[in-house]
Amino acid sequence: MIAAHLPVLQIVVPLVAAPFCLLLRRGTWAWILSSIVCLAALVIAATLLSQVLESGPISYELGGWAPPWGIEYRVDVLNAFLLLIVSATGAIVLPYARRSVAHEIPESQHGGFYTALLLCFTGLLGVAITGDAFNLFVFLEISSLSSYVLIAMGRDRRALTAAFQYLVMGTIGATFIVIGIGLLYMATGTLNMADLGARLPAVGANRTVLAAFAFLTVGATLKLALFPLHFWLPNAYAYAPSVVTAFLAATATKVSIYILLRFFFTIFGPTFAAEDITLQRLVVPLAVIAVLVCSTVAIFQSNVKRMLAYSSIAQIGYMMIGIGFDTVTGLTAGIVHLFNHAATKGGLFLALGCVVLRIGSCQLDDLAGLGRRMPLTMFSFVLGGLSLIGVPLTAGFVSKWYLVQAAIEQDNWLVAVAILVGSLLAIIYVWRVVEVAYLRPAPEGTPAGGIEAPWSMLVPTWILIGASIYFGIETSLNVGVASAAARFLLGVAG
């Protein structure tokens, strides 16, 4: 009975719980409630993924209205995977949140914080699960608006301008998306994405459709921070509360990439993107520049959080390279990196959150001697850094293996080399931190003795970092699902 309603429960449970957090007022209760909700969401997402892998896509008619008239929730391999990423991040980050939030956000705002977090969570899940283009826009706005609030809660006053910057850029992106959806509705008379995909070939590539494609692409790339539309991201990540940075880094940009994948492959179809627009010529160069430029910029950051933010833009570049190739290997690489990077970067930001809790700063120079004072935290940072570089036995290696292979398959040697150069740049920015933390002595007058972060924060950090190691060794889940999703998107059998 309940099993049949899982798709809608995935959304309704966190959505209903969100206002209760505000009513509970007391931070602890709100935290307990949202932790339970995120855990429940994870269970639902895992069940959905196993159902999809077993018996194919699930369609759920909201309110009993049959698609394409009613809103349809449609779960296939790709978005079931996304649901899992989002809900797992939520479930891992929330236990961590209590101590970190207590430290960084005033007590009176705790209820509001958890409300916004749950709403953001709902919005991201909603974007992933819905099969309706306009509904997707609505959920995107829910997640965006709540994330502006979350970012603005950062301790630093610059968080306000960062949130405002993101608000402006995010709104432009969302507006573009809604314009694109409107144009598509004009051309086809439907909003259901599967239905759109079926009807568009008959309409052909007329000017309306091309304009819609352009608006959707630009709108989505704004949200996912593809170079050169990435300017909102470094500030937003750097000044948001630690928990929010980790949560958004692991989920928000990933969901935006999912939106792009849906638009490109489900609505317009793989041949449209490849032949009518020659996507590869547009996306791949931008993505390569993102990798090279932003990795280089990351090297020169003095704030570690900002450094990781630039690294995120570079990593998004890797995903977009894979997607731009428009081949099974390329898409597999893009999707698998989406997962691997969520685990790695989420873990790294959590580790930084531990540092902020203890020393109140994430300036590179303040990290001197931390290797000795916070051994577990800093070691997790090193492991996460190795995964960013793409050292074997880490998840980052698996992504890069597929990505370079996709480039070689197309005889695109320049891109293959660029990807590896990106890794070398990552060595530099990761090792700057390692050297300061391990080889530079703590400043004079620092009290001796360890200041290791509390277990409630270490365990979530290590779960994510552990995942980024585990999925580099036992790859059947991430690579298996990613290649299934890639074949599904491209309509290749097997």
């Binding site: 036995l393 293959a416 890794s423 070398l424 790859t475």
Partner: protein, 498 residues
């Protein structure tokens, strides 16, 4: 014990050892017992593999399928057997030496030192027994990373700078070049398994072979082919036991071992010979041999001189691979064992001198031979072995390399080998001569006496027993390797005559 289990045990034992060492960190004696016990056990396990491998067997084991079609798999063949034996055997001796050295010099963070050492040995075993290029690459990178804390052990500015060069060159060559070569091979050949005769023969031809070979040879930065050799002198900031076992045996030999593996099992000797691409590689190797020897002569710091000597000696192995015939490959492979035994002796001596007198510069070692006769005696033996004079092990590898060069009708290479031996004499022997024959500098100028014989004999002042015993053992090993080289030859023979 079956071969499959022994392989996995060989990788697992040092890892378990690392955990035990970490757990017993508070009791130094117990901790050192763990290191020694682990090393002994590992050597026994590796020894159990020998009968099967020399009988023509190829024990295999698969750990896990990392990527579709690319498992972490192991297969012991003669070359890997030899490398595994050398590394695990010398770890025992080196552990004894480490104890003496680290305690006598009151080094900090000894637990971390022993833990990282054990992890490095585990990855060396992984490299030695790897069954495909992917597995080898994985352990190659683990070895780089696990030795970084050892190189930066002192934690000062020098260590930081050395560590940066070390990691920078090794990681960027392996990720930037070697990984690309591996991916390309995978694309071309559809497999990465080490196969007799090579997996690229028949699949690749023309310039592709040349580019791939270039990517591999410079991608394997641990082989220290010039001009990518800078990391090895940089790594000398590490405590001497690290330089001895890792930067004369495990790490650098992992490099040239990989070069051999790639030449024999990825390209195949026929492919290298027929396409003529071995030719330019031979010249690069020859240049490395000669230039590094010349640079070694200019170094006054003993460890720096030994480091450049190592770079030169590694060139021999690459030369053996490049000449690509039966003799040269056997010579090159033997060099892995022979040079290991000789060079570890020399490094042990350098460390013993530092421990006893805190001297690092060769010019300061005047007359020390009379104070430390055992150390300088062992140094002489090690040096003669590295030079390649009988009755020491090093002579055999040079002998077979010469035969290989003759077989390939490369008169130039024969000349290079001979000149190199002379250069070795020129930079190694003066150290011993200075120690034994020059009088020790007097702190206060004394009136000239009638004869030098009138000066009082200096008192013998050796380094601690734990330092001196290992270096005598390895010096003895150099001698034994000369007289008992036949088993080694028999073991290596199947590589070229399958």
């Amino acid at each position: 014990m079956s071969g499959d289990n022994a392989i996995l045990l060989a990788i697992l034992i040092p890892l378990v050892g690392a955990v035990l060492i970490a757990l017993t960190g508070r009791q130094p004696n117990l901790r050192e017992a763990m290191t020694l016990g682990t090393a002994g056990l590992l050597f026994i396990v590796v020894l159990t593999l020998v009968p099967e491998v020399s009988g023509g067997g190829r024990p295999q084991a698969t750990l896990i399928e990392m990527l579709p079609g690319l498992p972490l798999a192991f297969e012991v063949e003669p070359l890997g057997m030899l490398f595994g034996l050398v590394a695990s055997g010398l770890w025992i001796v080196n552990s004894v030496y480490s104890i003496g050295y680290m305690r006598a010099n009151n080094e900090q963070n000894q637990t971390r030192f022993y833990v990282c050492f054990a992890i490095a040995i585990s990855s060396t075993m992984g490299i030695a027994f790897a069954g495909n290029m992917m597995t080898l690459f994985v352990f190659y990178e683990v070895l780089t990373l696990s030795t970084y804390p050892l190189v930066t052990h002192k934690g000062n500015e020098d260590a930081q700078r050395g560590g940066r060069t070390y990691l920078g060159i090794l990681l960027s060559t392996s990720i930037g070049l070697q990984l690309l070569a591996i991916l390309w091979t995978w694309q071309v050949a559809g497999t990465l398994d080490f196969t007799a005769g090579g997996i690229l023969s028949g699949k690749a031809s023309g310039p592709v072979v040349g580019i791939l070979l270039l990517l591999y040879m410079y991608g394997i930065g641990k082989a220290a082919l010039m001009p990518l050799h800078r990391w090895l002198p940089a790594a000398m900031v590490a405590p001497t036991p690290v330089s001895a076992l890792l930067h004369a045996v495990a790490v650098v030999k992992a490099g040239v071992f990989t070069v051999m593996k790639v030449a024999v099992y990825i390209f195949g000797l026929d492919l290298l010979r027929d396409t003529g691409h071995g030719q330019w590689l031979a010249y690069i190797a020859a240049a490395t041999i000669l230039i590094a020897s010349l640079v070694a002569m200019t170094k006054n710091n003993l460890k720096a001189r030994l480091a450049y000597s190592t770079i030169s000696q590694l060139g021999y192995v690459v030369l053996g691979a490049a000449l690509a015939n039966d003799w040269s490959v056997i010579g090159g492979s033997m060099q892995i064992a022979m040079h290991a035994m000789g060079k570890i002796t020399l490094f042990f001596c350098a460390g013993a001198i530092y421990t006893a007198t805190h001297k690092t510069e060769i010019s300061e070692m005047t007359g020390l031979g009379r104070v430390m006769p055992f150390t300088f005696g062992a140094f002489l033996i090690g040096a003669l072995s590295v030079i390649g004079l009988p009755p020491l092990g090093g002579s055999w590898s040079k002998w077979y390399l010469m035969l290989g060069a003759a077989e390939a009708s490369q008169v130039v290479m024969i000349a290079v080998l001979m000149v190199s031996s002379l250069l070795n004499v020129a930079y190694l022997i003066p150290i011993v001569a200075r120690g034994f024959f020059l009088p020790a500098p007097q702190s206060t100028p004394q009136p000239v006496s009638v004869g030098a014989a009138a000066a009082p004999r200096p008192r013998i002042q050796e380094a601690p027993l734990f330092c001196v015993a290992p270096l005598c053992m390895t010096a003895l090993g150099c001698v034994l390797l000369f007289f008992f080289a036949t088993p080694l030859y028999r073991l290596l023979e199947p590589i070229v005559a399958p």
